[in-house]
């Protein structure tokens, strides 16, 4: 049987399963009607050029199961996602699913262009986001979406959040300013070389004037366009009565600029235009590095909103209706199906089954719910259909309450003043005062206004905080990239410094210290175990213990047997019938109730397996601590970081784990709010919270640094500042090492730039500095700082 390629998706299939399609002299083969449909659609509308562009690449076959697209025309949808542009056309941002290559982008653009009423389509190759502009009175959005679906792709709307756009705009703005600054500085440099040469070998005043003029022209956009942020920063600094580095840069650069103009017009002395542009360019680069590594808190909140269900099924007039969560009133009857997340708090009226509350309590076992039991929003229904009475409206339900609390926590996130900012304030004041004093002193010593002013200026120029401005951003950026390569994502550069200063490490238990899933650690078999039977039994239950045994057995590659009449006994176990025999699996109580004697005791969870009232085997399971916890705790002890464990779990299991890993301080039975309060009570210390679940998010948000596990819940990852991609505590220790190493180098960098100033400022005050020396020393100090920062990597390269 030969494999043959589908004419549309280019995937290989056996010839006999293919749909043969003869079209004149050509014969085509399709793997499914979906591919066939798309193929004909494309050739009918003259878009078959797609296949030439596609080459030999393979596609995923189009799927058919799409919901009705008419919901895209609803008013609420338009309000949420569709914008009107200035010409009166509608505009939407979509993410297109199924794009593999440039040919797919081409096809989508072409197909949509063919649609009457569509004005413009622009699809980003890199992130598959599309912007579509259309005339709403000619074509509806639903037809556009249908077109995308009919050619084998799917589209989702997304809110191009204002935040994201703002951040991009800011970045672009900086980019433009840097391009101008670099262009001008580089040109000024080669003109300056001519001047330096002329300074030593002599040149006529006429040539000097031309060079000065050219530099003047180049320095002007650097100072006023690229340097605009410094003037703005200086203005805000003065307004708030704070001396910041922007003031030093702005006054230094503009005074130098004015002085140089004076020199140029007066045709005597040396102009400093090169220093003007160099100061601005270097410091701007430092600022740009900071902007690059910044995340905005508001972006995070946008993402959190996506985790809240926005519609629920409510019983109204004997019909199930889907209504927005805000329309649910107290007393309404809400229906929830397996896999759905509850949005509203309530009490069960109908249905029995398990709820996964791990996101809120950290409890790894699903909770069994029956009549009159409480359902908490944010928990997930596992295996049954429930109807429950809403006891609270949406805004006062647990989940939305948690999110609104998170909102306020994020906006009040504590931050530590960075060392560089602390220094730069004092530094700027000192330099400005020194420069002024120098000027007065020289004037007092009868040196004439010109000379005195020039010496005063040279103090400011030589003290240019280039190295100071680069000290932190360069080092932290290298720290960030090092962390990134080792699976530690710092979301913001400043976090490195905060982390290096940490005094308190707060660890969540489940999923952070422990694996979060029970594992079989010990087993005893009294008789030969029919493993296929046991596997089938365990597969039938969603309980974590059964799941753990399934995964333990699956390692041996066993096929499950066919069971009859499986019955789940809540918080006990499972029974089933196999070949007329009764099969049992569950805990000790379950065995006793079935009349089987068990006298095995263990501090861990036990699972017994019995056939026909005879105990066959038992398994010991526990949620064991992760690797590397010992090393982490040792490291914390050595570096005087206090370690505390917080958990929503019971005291017994908490103390067992605490004893095992040797953590002295732990608190159990905590609600998400309790955890957050614990963090708030320790505000006087720089705290790090490590967690993985929704129950940790408030604490993560309140701590100076929130660290989450990469496998943790999405919200926890969004809220936290650092993500450990491989979930390992070894990475956590490494994160400490990297942050401390980075901070050491930041301190060294600051020291280098200060020492440099200690040497050069007295020289400048004595009047020994000429433009050449100023330019060279500026570059050398900046290079030293950058070179020193690269040393962060050394330790890890071995």
């Amino acid at each position: 049987m030969s494999k043959i390629e589908c004419s549309h998706c280019h995937l290989d299939f056996d010839e006999e399963v293919m749909i043969k399609d003869e079209d004149g002299e050509n014969t085509y083969f399709f793997c499914c009607t979906g591919c066939q449909g798309v193929f004909h659609l494309l050739s009918d509308s003259g878009l078959d050029g797609f296949y030439d562009k596609l080459g030999s690449k393979k596609l995923t076959a189009p799927t058919h199961t799409f919901e009705d697209s008419s919901s895209f025309d609803s008013k609420t949808f338009y309000e949420q996602f569709v914008k009107k542009n200035e010409d009166g056309f509608c505009e939407i941002s979509l993410v297109i699913e199924g794009i593999h290559c440039a040919a797919c982008v081409w096809l989508n653009e072409k197909a949509l262009h063919k649609l009457k009423g569509v004005i413009d389509v622009h699809i980003n190759y890199t992130n598959n986001k599309a912007k579509i502009v259309w005339a709403d009175h000619i074509v509806k959005l639903s037809s556009i979406i249908e077109m995308i679906r009919s050619i084998g792709y799917n589209a989702f709307p997304y809110d191009p959040s204002i935040q994201e756009e703002k951040a991009n705009k800011e970045r672009k703005n900086y980019y433009l300013r840097i391009v101008v600054a670099l262009f001008s500085s580089m040109n000024i440099m080669w003109i300056a070389i001519a001047q330096y040469a002329g300074y030593f070998s002599g040149m006529t005043q006429e040539i000097k004037n031309i060079l000065n003029l050219a530099e003047w022209i180049l320095a002007t956009p650097v100072l006023f366009y690229s340097g605009w942020t410094f003037f703005r920063g200086a203005y805000f600094g003065i307004k708030n009565k704070i001396v910041n580095m922007d003031i030093l840069v702005a006054t230094g650069a503009s005074l130098t600029y004015i002085y140089s103009i004076y020199i140029t017009l007066n045709e005597s002395g040396e102009a400093y235009f090169d220093s003007v542009s160099m100061i601005i360019t270097f410091v701007l680069l430092g600022k740009f590095l900071e902007v690059l590594s910044k995340k905005s808190a508001a972006d995070t909140l946008d993402i959190i909103g996506k985790h809240i269900p926005n519609e629920v099924n409510v019983l109204r007039n004997d019909n199930i209706e889907t209504v927005p969560v805000h329309d649910v009133k107290v007393g309404d009857i809400v229906e929830i199906r397996p896999g759905e997340k509850a949005a509203i708090d309530g009490e069960v009226l109908e249905g029995e089954g398990y709820f996964d509350e791990s996101s809120l309590s950290g409890e790894s076992r699903p909770i069994y719910k029956k009549l009159d039991d409480k359902i908490i929003s944010g928990t997930v229904c596992v295996d049954a259909r429930f109807r429950y009475k809403a006891m609270k409206d949406f805004s006062s339900s647990t989940l939305s309450h948690l999110v609104s609390m998170l909102d306020s926590a994020m906006s009040k996130k504590p931050s530590i003043e960075l060392l560089a900012n602390k220094i730069s304030g004092h530094f700027s004041t000192a330099i400005l005062v020194l420069a002024f004093l120098t000027f007065l002193l020289w004037l007092g010593l009868d040196n004439g206004f010109d000379r005195s002013f020039m010496v005063g200026i040279s103090v400011i120029v030589i003290a240019c905080p280039c190295a100071l401005a680069l000290a932190t951003p360069v080092a932290t950026l290298i720290g960030l990239s090092l962390g990134g390569r080792r699976g530690i994502l710092f979301k913001e550069a400043a976090q490195l410094e905060t982390m290096a200063k940490a005094q308190l490490l707060i660890l969540d238990k489940t999923g952070t210290i422990t694996e979060g899933k029970p594992k079989v650690i010990n087993s005893k078999e009294y008789q030969d175990v029919d493993k296929s039977l046991l596997l089938a039994l365990c597969n039938s239950s969603l309980h974590p213990i059964s799941q753990a045994i399934s995964s333990y057995l699956k390692e041996e590659d066993i096929k499950p047997a066919e069971l009859l009449t499986v019955t789940q006994v809540p918080s006990r176990g499972v029974t089933a019938v196999f070949n007329g025999k009764k099969v049992l699996g569950g805990n000790a109580e379950f065995m006793k109730e079935a009349g089987i004697e068990v006298d095995i005791k263990s501090k861990y969870s036990l699972f017994f397996f019995a056939v026909e009232d005879k105990l066959i085997s038992y398994y010991e399971l526990r949620d064991s601590p992760k690797e590397g916890i010992k090393e982490l705790l040792e490291y914390c002890k050595k570096s005087k970081i206090e370690v505390v464990m917080l958990t929503g779990d019971h005291k017994e299991s908490a103390s067992a784990i605490a004893k095992e890993v040797a953590i002295d301080k732990f608190y159990a039975d905590l609600s998400p709010e309790d955890k957050a309060n614990f963090v708030l009570e320790h505000k006087n210390k720089v705290s790090i919270m490590v967690g993985d679940g929704v129950n940790d998010i408030l604490a993560l948000a309140h701590a100076n640094i929130g660290i989450s596990m990469g496998s943790g819940s999405d919200i926890a990852i969004d809220v936290s500042d650092v993500v450990l991609l491989n979930d390992s505590l070894v990475s956590l220790k490494e994160a400490f090492l990297i942050s401390r190493r980075t901070f050491t180098l930041v301190k060294q960098n600051l020291a280098i730039s200060l020492v440099y100033n200690l040497i050069t400022i007295p020289l400048a005050m004595a009047g020994f500095i000429i433009p050449l020396i100023a330019a060279i020393s500026m570059s050398i100090s900046s290079l030293l700082v950058v070179g020193n920062s690269i040393r962060i990597k050394w330790k890890w390269q071995k």
């Binding site: 010409d87 056309f89 440039a102 982008v105 040109n187 031309i210």
Partner: protein, 67 residues
């Protein structure tokens, strides 16, 4: 060297440089560097088609303009 020549050379080179700078800035502003993959990939599709498309967009903007 004659100062006239120096000033002319400086002037011309700075002028040319400024044109290039303006071009780069325009490209950044109009978002031509936002999509790094498109820059390379769309080379394949470059041609008459792209021009026709641009003209078509202009025509549609006029045709469908809502009142």
């Amino acid at each position: 060297m004659n100062s006239g020549i120096v000033s002319m050379m400086l002037g011309v080179s700075l002028f040319l440089g400024a044109i290039a700078l303006a071009g780069v800035m325009w490209a950044i502003k109009s978002g031509q560097f936002d999509d790094e993959k498109r820059m390379m990939d769309s080379v394949h599709d470059d041609g008459e088609d792209a021009l026709n498309e641009a003209a078509e967009i202009e025509r549609r903007k006029k045709e469908y303009k809502p009142e």
